[in-house]
């Protein structure tokens, strides 16, 4: 068994864990970050993609709104490459209470948001597909944030400061010595080997799974996973984030994320955070909700459906019987020493992607106090790798680059414009186990064809380069195709149904995927 010593062991490589790793590393601590899967495959890879302006919470949860507004401003400075400055609109649809709009405006200003009311005509000129029956419109500083880019930048930053990052390492045991947590045992999901990590402090950043991890340490964390469903539409229906101006409900935001528009979301309590099934009813609900913001939404091509689990932590004694939206979106740092008499363990729960930096700062402040070591937080001003130019990411970037790609660098994924060189670079930079890891890093297979034209190219290339044996390549391909199918089976109508049939012809008719040798 491998053994490692570290100052801080962070369990969970979502936005929160990655943020904690980056923050700790900048403070001069040695960090080890582990995840049971690849990074950003939990809720962080399954979220809506919105860099909140704070508008969503302005009326209901002013504390969260203020946090979002402030963090939004900071992330734009330090993580520009992960953010697209789409701007956002809050609009009163015919079904929304106009009086709420007044409250919204006042609350947004009070939360320190940059907000201005714009004439309906202006909003409609900027967003021709927006419902022409809207009655008021407010412009806010929403943006879209790319989860993989963000988490990967945080990891690269942490690694540059000597952090160790271990994907596919699942915590199977928390090491305790009396009333002290001293580390954990991980199982490498790819090889079955165990790794033992001794740590000065363990941070449980397992999001919706943090209850499970806490239980391994022998304590309880009352995280309530809340499942939310999203549907991606094939192209951008709007340039800005479109929000309904009303009390938050289901399917009331459309976010332009990379090449797609994502509508979401719902909120259903689930027992198991790994329960990410999406029912046809939920999908239907989203599509119908989209119609209110963008008439004709129903006819747009739905590409894919997925769900994520919110890591909600009710405030102590959280109002019983109230829906989960009653729970504050703000995060909580649980010091298990003070709370349960169990030293060496800190749980960070709740929060949002947008507030990951603040969550990390608050967490590491506690860690530093416990360790008696580590400097001041630097994440407010330290620019993340890739964002040095401070240029926001822009949707046209890849198209522009593809124009100048040398002719001997063929496109592997046509929908998302991924070239062979891009693929080689990513594969060289990090170990790849599943094709899905490459998908997250490069968006291979995320466009309209959902892998139909690129998955076998990628598998074949990795085989050719000796990274996959024959059997491995075949099973990786099969697994990838099945995973993609999961996301399209509930939306198989219209153009996407035709695409799926064509893809099946390719996979089964041309490659006989079912019968490839193991």
């Amino acid at each position: 068994m491998n053994t490692l010593d570290t100052d801080v062991l962070v369990i969970g490589g979502g936005s929160t864990g990655a943020g904690v790793a980056w923050d700790s590393a900048l403070r001069g601590l040695h960090v080890t970050l582990v995840d049971r899967q690849d990074f950003a495959t939990g809720t962080s890879g399954r979220f809506h993609g919105l860099l909140h302006s704070g508008g969503r919470y302005a009326v209901k949860d002013p504390g969260s709104a203020r946090e979002c507004a402030a963090e939004n401003r900071i992330l734009r400075q330090v993580a520009a490459d992960c953010i697209e400055d789409t701007g956002g609109l809050f609009v009163s649809t015919p079904e929304d209470d106009l009086e709420y709009a007044d409250r919204f405006l006042a609350a947004a200003r009070a939360a320190g948001m940059e907000v201005e009311e714009v004439p309906v005509g202006t909003a409609l000129r900027d967003e021709p597909r927006l419902n022409p029956k809207i009655r008021r419109a407010f412009r806010v500083q929403d943006g879209s944030i790319d989860s993989w880019k963000m988490v990967s930048a945080l990891l690269r930053g942490a690694e540059a400061h000597a952090a160790t990052v271990l994907p596919y390492h699942k915590v199977v045991e928390v090491l305790r010595h009396g009333d002290r947590v001293e580390g954990a045992v991980m199982e490498d999901q790819r090889t079955g080997q165990e790794v033992r990590v001794h740590a000065g402090c363990v941070v449980n950043a397992a999001g919706a799974w943090s209850g499970q991890v806490a239980r391994l340490a022998g304590c309880e964390v009352g995280v309530r996973p809340g499942k939310g469903v999203m549907v991606a539409i094939n192209h951008r229906l709007a340039r800005a984030v479109l929000n309904r101006c009303h009390l938050p409900s289901d399917g009331d935001i459309i976010v332009p994320v990379r090449t797609v528009s994502v509508i979401g979301t719902t909120d259903h309590p689930v027992a198991d955070p790994d329960d990410t099934e999406c029912s046809p009813e939920e999908v239907h609900q989203m599509i119908e909700a989209g119609e209110l913001l963008v008439p004709g939404f129903r006819e747009a091509r739905a590409l894919r459906v997925w769900a994520g689990s919110r890591p909600l932590l009710p405030k102590t004694g959280g109002s019983a019987g109230a829906g989960d939206r009653e729970v504050s979106r703000s995060h909580t740092v649980l010091d298990h020493g003070a709370r349960d008499g169990l030293e060496g363990l800190v749980t960070i729960a709740g929060g949002k992607f947008t507030t990951l930096r603040l969550m990390a700062e608050d967490t590491v402040d506690v860690v530093v106090r416990k360790l008696g070591r580590g400097s001041e937080c630097r994440t407010r001003t330290e620019v993340l790798p890739g964002s040095e130019s401070r240029h926001f990411y822009w949707i046209g970037n890849r198209q522009q680059e593809a124009e100048t790609d040398p002719p001997d660098d063929p496109l592997i994924c046509e929908c998302e414009l991924v070239s062979q060189h891009d693929l080689d670079t990513v594969v060289a930079r990090r170990p790849t186990w599943r094709l899905d890891d490459i998908r997250r890093a490069l968006r291979v297979g995320m466009g309209p064809c959902q892998g139909g034209f690129c998955a076998f190219r990628v598998a074949g290339m990795l085989h050719q380069e000796g990274r996959y044996g024959r059997a491995e390549a075949n099973s990786a391909l099969r697994e990838f195709v099945q995973e993609r199918w999961k996301g399209v089976k509930v939306i198989s109508w219209g153009a996407q149904a035709r695409q799926t049939r064509l893809d099946r012809w390719i996979f089964e008719g041309l490659y006989d995927l079912e019968h490839l040798p193991e």
């Binding site: 900027d126 192209h235 951008r236 822009w394 890849r398 522009q400 064809c449 153009a495």
Partner: protein
């Protein structure tokens, strides 16, 4: 905010059509430009694929400028993706953002060139035939020195109309002749008029300006929109509210039929009205024939004529009506040239950087023509005729000139 990237409802529909692409790649196999140059990545790539990366404001891709706008891709796409229309919009965004070269401004205004050339037509024509002048033209304004240019005329079509008595009849049509008839080929207009009158129609020829198509294909959308809206007004004066509008220029006819609304996003009551009742001249004659109303008092025309159906005529989705009518003429040996594009695509092939591409696109057609050695080449589109003649040395005519001859004209 850009006025162009997002516009009228029709454009929203065109953009939404990208959703239907399933990557079957049929369009790529049909695009004549992608087949001959690596500079153009092909319709699937610059159309539905690239459109997902465009949001208006700033154009990410330049290569779309190499699309000739021939429209073949849209026609062959089994999923109904409006590829050529997407490209056209993207091109105009590009031009709006980066400015339009003087050359494109010039070729986009045939009236301007024609008007400028007319008073000094013989001189102009001689100058255009002079290789030194053409070389200078290529260097200074980027019009390829060997590119086909029309011969200017001293007498415009409207001048002829002013002296034409015409016939009175209860059956009336409006004639939309277009710029090339006005400035370069008035004889085409005279023959159209004669043919229609021969079939018992009174031909109303209102004063008319450019439809804006060359402006559109050079990405000058606002000017194009203005032009086509004005033209629609000119073509439907009150008294002629529901008369058929006959066009003898295929590309300008297509502009009125579809492109004005679908690509330019232009809209007005007159435009809608004109749009719904515009006919290609042979489409109209075919309908007459189907109703048994076309006069078939043809004299034999003992010639071999090779017929090429131009892209913009094919894009009207009306088949090849000229072939159907010419087949009625006794003694005529008609050869159908089954090639897609001559390369010129309006003004595409006259541009310095595109001339060679256009010639390569047209190569199969030119080879067929040279192998056949016909007496005449017939083609409905004026720019295609000029291109074919320049490339092959063959004499090319509008197919209605053959019909005119069969009716006894000279």
């Amino acid at each position: 905010m850009t006025e162009l990237a997002w516009g009228a409802e029709a454009w929203s529909e065109v953009r939404a059509s990208l959703d239907r692409c399933i990557k079957c790649t049929v369009c790529e196999t049909a695009c004549p430009v992608a087949a001959v140059t690596e500079l153009f990545p092909g319709p699937k790539t610059v159309g539905p694929q690239a459109e997902r990366f465009r949001t208006g404001g700033h154009s990410p891709d330049l290569s779309v400028d190499y699309c000739s706008g021939c429209g073949i891709c849209s026609r062959v796409c089994p999923q109904g993706v409006r590829i050529a229309e997407l490209n056209s919009r993207a091109r105009s965004e590009l031009k709006r953002e980066r400015g339009v070269p003087l050359r494109d401004q010039l070729v986009a205004r045939p009236g301007l060139l024609g008007r400028f050339g007319r008073p000094v037509a013989p001189l102009f024509n001689r100058a255009m035939a002079n290789s030194l002048v053409r070389w200078a033209g290529e260097r200074t304004i980027g019009i390829h020195r060997r590119a086909p240019v029309p011969r200017s005329t001293t007498r415009t079509f409207s001048h002829w109309v002013g002296h034409h008595a015409g016939t009175k009849s209860a059956r009336r049509v409006v004639y939309f002749h277009g710029c090339s008839t006005q400035w370069y080929e008035p004889h085409v207009g005279q023959k159209v008029t004669a043919i229609l009158e021969h079939n018992g129609y009174q031909v109303i020829i209102p004063k008319q300006d450019c439809c804006g198509l060359p402006l559109q294909s050079n990405g000058l959308f606002p000017a194009a929109r203005k032009a086509v809206t004005r033209l629609a007004r000119q073509l439907v004066p009150d008294a002629t509210g529901d008369l058929p509008v006959i066009s003898s220029s295929t590309s300008c006819g297509l502009m009125l039929k579809r492109e004005a609304r679908e690509i330019l996003g232009a809209d007005s009551p007159e435009l809608r009205s004109v749009s719904a009742r515009t006919y290609d001249i042979f489409e109209f004659l075919r309908e007459l024939h189907q109703r048994g109303e076309l006069r078939t008092d043809f004299k034999p025309v003992p010639l071999t004529v090779a017929y090429h159906a131009p892209c913009q005529q094919q894009n009207q989705l009306i088949g090849k009506p000229a072939l159907e009518i010419l087949r009625l003429i006794p003694g005529l040996r008609l050869v159908e040239l089954d090639r897609s594009c001559c390369g010129i695509a309006g003004t595409y092939g006259v541009k310095r950087e595109k001339y060679e591409i256009a010639m390569r696109v047209g190569k199969p057609l030119f080879t067929d023509i040279q192998a056949e050695g016909p007496d005449l080449v017939a083609c409905d589109s004026e720019t295609c005729r000029w291109q074919i003649s320049a490339a092959t040395g063959a004499t090319s005519v509008h197919p209605l000139e053959i019909l005119h001859r069969a009716y006894g004209g000279s």
